[in-house]
Symmetry: none
Subunit: 238 residues, 2 copies
């Protein structure tokens, strides 16, 4: 299971709330490996509370004193950064690089590292990275909360695991014949109400067909619509 080959490392995190929220964030995306380098407060009641249903991930987090220790057995180290600051290290958006991270993780261990809340990764940390990734943001304000950044990156890498789009739940769509009978019924009633001009019913009927075709009615819905038409006709007879 390649999710298990990916590890999220928080370097010098200062807020326990962010540590707990990061545990939850990776948990929702099917990842289990959280690693903390020199955390300010750990364990802590606030990180427990924010981890919600991912408490096990928080409690099993690896804790190291140095980044070197944390990444000792990693084959690919990805640094996260808000800025394109080091042209010597290749940098891509997480959107562009998620697939290659995923592919590497099929056979080898990948570490994704996040710097402290206020300063981001240091130059020394970045020197340990094979690649950098950034999260595309708006221009005016680009400062994601640490746990939010973990969430977005975990989300984007997890997407790469879905090779094929998931199947849409299917409804039993009405057949062409059923739709034809519905449209005949509709036209008849609208001629009775006077809504359609008997000399030129076609144009409005085309618009109505376009509307209902777009909605892709299922069997049940055709029955409801025809029930409405019938309820009108019965009322007229009385």
């Amino acid at each position: 299971m390649s999710h298990d080959n990916i590890e999220f490392i928080l370097v010098d995190p200062s807020h326990p709330g962010n540590v707990g929220a990061a545990a939850r964030a990776i948990g929702t995306m099917g990842f289990r490996n959280l690693s903390l380098v020199n955390p300010d407060k750990h364990p802590h009641p606030e990180s427990r509370a924010r981890s919600a249903g991912a408490l096990d991930i928080l409690l099993n987090a690896k804790v190291s004193e140095t980044l070197d220790e944390a990444i000792a057995d990693s084959s690919l180290v990805i640094g996260t950064t808000a800025r394109q600051r080091r042209i010597s290290v290749p940098i891509d958006s997480i959107h562009e690089s998620a697939e290659s991270i995923f592919k590497t993780s099929l056979k080898q261990k990948v570490s994704i590292i996040f710097g402290p809340e206020t300063s981001g990764l240091s130059n020394d940390d970045i020197d340990r990275c094979n690649r950098l990734v950034y999260i595309p943001t708006g221009e005016m304000y680009s400062s994601l909360n640490l746990a939010m950044a973990v969430q977005v990156i975990a989300y984007q890498i997890n997407l790469a695991f879905f090779g094929i789009e998931e199947d849409q739940p299917t409804r039993d769509l009405a057949s062409g014949k059923e739709m034809e009978l519905f449209y005949e019924h509709l036209e008849k009633v609208l001629l009775e109400t006077g809504f359609l001009n008997p000399k030129n019913p076609k144009q409005l009927m085309r618009r109505l067909k376009a509307l209902f075709n777009r909605a892709q009615l299922d069997d049940n819905e055709v029955n409801i619509m025809r029930g409405i038409l019938t309820s009108y006709q019965k009322r007229r007879v009385k």
Copy 2:
């Protein structure tokens, strides 16, 4: 600027921290419009703290008592859900649908709505949605924090803004207010014809709303549908 045509609506949010974090989340992705329906605590020191550099977004948030009021001038209403629970409302991953949301927002107002932390959107809320989106998650644990969900969806829609040409032909979709008036008119007429049971009109109305929401009616089509209803009412008077 089409970012400004997209609005993020939190329905009944209970934790002010989430409200503040949601403001920051949308701010980092270049969005500015936060809307709160019946917030439990607002304004609140914790939401201010968590909004960080997006305090202006929090302070300018629109506050409404009802969802109907919040979406009154929206042409496209997108509900967010963790489950594929209503097959009558189209559902896609945010990954698949971000581009079409973006294209609609080039000319028309789009609302993206998020339910309360614990329960998600109610069936009544979902009845007001044209489409549903979900965030693909891991299988074992899929419960994203509210503000995290806002972050991922804002991120994914913002991605669609990069590199897509603005040349999609668009229809003038009817506003939420116009749709609400149409549904009221429809319900009234169906009570008159006897199609709806006066003691329990809701269930069938829900199915009808799902059908018409799916079709995404434009102004002209709403006029046609209401013309049909009026033609019936005039006929009855004679």
